[in-house]
């Protein structure tokens, strides 16, 4: 049903400060349509090594509990296991995080949100798959609503096995991730940019109601 929009919501022409006129559609979502690109390291190896060292010491995890495994994150955040002393902390928004922990199974509906969250994170970014479910389906290998291999949908740097992994195993995993980052081997974000079409086609194969931009910044 077409209804008369209020004047401020109608499509209108606006004159910018530089004198150029352009059309504004207030009800449309604007986003950057550029696709991700491969980020090359610094020209000098020692500088890149320094960057990697710095990156490895500030793993900021997106506080998005996608599945069961999120319950073992709480002991990690709190004094008993205290991950903060290892340079790990949790952030509420993807913009501030550089590590996405997929904590267990991903239902198709969550996969969509996880992809958005991953794409909104700043490069360099890392993904850790936690628990059996991310490796080969785990408990829900014959479920109609979960994905089986996280690898097909986003580049995973590391897997921690367990159902669910204990906080100690998670810490060990994060320590291993730090080693990977320091060695310059955690190149998930670049891999995502290189094989973007492959990842997208896999994602669209399971997410049937794809109503978002191909790459959401």
């Amino acid at each position: 049903m077409e209804q008369e929009l209020k004047p401020e919501l109608q499509i209108r022409k606006v004159k910018g400060p530089d004198g150029v006129e352009f059309e504004v559609e207030p009800l449309r979502d604007y986003y950057c349509e550029a696709l991700p690109t491969v980020q090359h390291g610094a020209y000098i190896q020692i500088v890149e090594d320094f960057f990697n060292w710095a990156r490895s010491h500030s793993l900021w995890i997106l506080g998005f509990g996608t599945g069961c495994g999120a319950i073992e994150m709480r002991p990690l955040m709190t004094p008993r296991f205290d991950a903060y002393r290892y340079g790990i902390q949790w952030r509420p928004t993807p913009r501030q995080a550089n590590l996405l922990v997929i904590s267990g199974y991903l239902s198709v509906k969550t996969l969509k949100r996880a992809i958005r969250a991953y794409e909104q994170m700043q490069s360099p970014k890392y993904v850790v798959g936690l628990g059996s479910c991310t490796i080969n389906g785990g408990m829900y290998w014959d479920s109609y609503n979960t994905i089986k291999r996280l690898d097909d949908y986003m580049p995973v740097d590391l897997y921690i096995v367990g159902c669910m992994p204990r906080p100690e195993a998670l810490l060990a995993g994060f320590e291993d991730l730090k080693k990977l980052i320091r060695a310059g081997k955690a190149e998930g974000a670049n891999q995502y940019a290189e094989k973007f079409d492959w990842y997208k086609s896999n994602q669209k194969r399971v997410i049937h109601d794809w109503d978002m931009p191909d790459y959401s910044w």
């Binding site: 209020k6 506080g63 069961c68 709190t78 509906k109 609503n145 159902c163």
Partner: protein, 392 residues
């Protein structure tokens, strides 16, 4: 003490069919998504809020982020194969699933679990209840900015997880209550370590009482807020502490005693004001009651005897045709399993009645209207729902 303005002049009128007449294009209303990736949400779920100013005029719960199709999965797993999968239905308090499933299977197959196993089961369920409440208290305080409570209660919960680990062999998913009994007895020296843990939890609860319940900010934001009308209880299927805080003593442990609750001394904890503060307080006192129950159980439980009944070979175990409903009082309300068997080796239908579903869907949508955006998180947490259990 209502924090919202009683002026409803700019509020949406109701259409003839009872739905709200919300004209988004008018610019008066705004859609806000709270969740699934949001710190002020109880887990992986989301609420679609329509706000007018900073006040919610409509809220819709969106779930399905954690749906795994348990009830379908169980139809193609044999009875023993269902046992490891049921506990995954509710992550923070998995034991009730194990118990209800085991009890339903025992009911239909005519197996009687041994006396000692029943005491062990009651012990595990009470320990799980404490865990669940500790997690709740941290969340409730955290939703109102009192982060320190969560730090304390998670530590206390972790001590309890250690007891679980040494007893059952796992931290979160214990997979300990087999159909027919339990897996193992208590390890050596368990009682003493349990007593130390209980003391630690009691001292933590004392601190929580001082810092959270006698806190001007917490009181200001919770007293009189988020009231459940006692008349709604039956309409919305409200059970557990949410109902007890409204003054209705609904407690399956007392109304229809299962396991060994007949032999334990306890009174359901009741509150009267039915607001967020009362619900938190009822849960705090219920937690302390569970501590007391654990002491009673450890004092009374038999230390020798069989832990599992004589079972047929579970590899080709068939259960005669029948149907049953088994209920238990979990930390959120009545937990039930409806099991139908058709004489084969697989359940014909398993239906899980989780209290989170009724509380988080219909009740939350009713209660969320007219509250401030910043109170949405506190209200959601106060209903104590676990998203994995809502959608299973």
């Amino acid at each position: 003490m209502a924090l919202y303005t009683p002026d409803r002049s700019q509020y949406p009128a109701k259409k003839a069919d009872g739905t709200l007449d919300i004209d988004l294009a008018s610019g008066k209303y705004l859609k806000l998504w709270q969740g699934p990736n949001h710190p002020g949400i109880t887990g992986n779920m989301s609420v679609e809020l329509t706000v007018c100013g900073d006040e919610v005029v409509e809220g819709k719960t969106h779930v399905g982020y954690l749906h795994r199709g348990f009830e379908k999965l169980m139809e193609r797993r044999s009875f023993i194969q269902c046992f490891p999968i049921v506990c995954r239905i509710c992550v923070p308090e998995p034991d009730f699933n194990e118990y209800c499933y085991a009890a339903a299977v025992e009911d239909l197959s005519g197996i009687q679990s041994p006396e000692r196993a029943n005491w062990m089961r009651a012990l595990i369920l009470e320990m799980g209840r404490i865990n669940s409440y500790l997690m709740y208290l941290g969340g409730q305080a955290g939703a109102l900015g009192l982060g320190v409570i969560g730090q304390w209660t998670t530590y206390a919960r972790d001590l309890m997880l250690d007891r679980f680990e040494e007893m059952t062999g796992a931290r979160i998913y214990h997979m300990f209550i087999l159909p027919g009994g339990v897996r193992d007895g208590l390890p050596d020296g368990f009682d003493q370590r349990m007593e130390e843990t209980l003391r630690e939890i009691e001292s933590t609860m004392k601190d929580v009482h001082d810092v959270m319940f006698h806190n001007a900010v917490f009181k200001k934001r919770t007293v009189g807020q988020g009231v459940i009308d006692p008349a709604w209880l039956d309409q919305y299927g409200v059970t557990g502490p949410n109902a007890r805080a409204a003054g209705v003593a609904k407690d399956v442990r007392r109304d229809q005693p299962y396991l060994v609750y007949r032999e334990l001394e306890f009174e359901p904890v009741i509150g009267h004001d039915s607001d967020i503060y009362t619900r938190s307080d009822v849960r705090r006192r219920d937690l302390l009651m569970s501590v007391d129950l654990i002491r009673q159980i450890l004092a009374k439980m038999p230390r020798s005897g069989p832990l599992i009944a004589d079972m047929p070979s579970m590899l080709h175990w068939k259960i005669p045709r029948g149907e049953t409903y088994v209920r238990g009082e979990c930390s959120r309300g009545e937990y039930g399993y409806y099991l139908v068997t058709d004489g084969s080796g697989f359940p014909r239908r398993v239906n899980v009645r989780g209290p989170s579903y009724t509380h988080a869907m219909a009740l939350l949508e009713r209660m969320i209207v007219n509250i401030n955006i910043s109170d949405v998180a506190a209200l959601m947490v106060s209903l104590h729902t676990y998203p994995p259990e809502i959608e299973r």
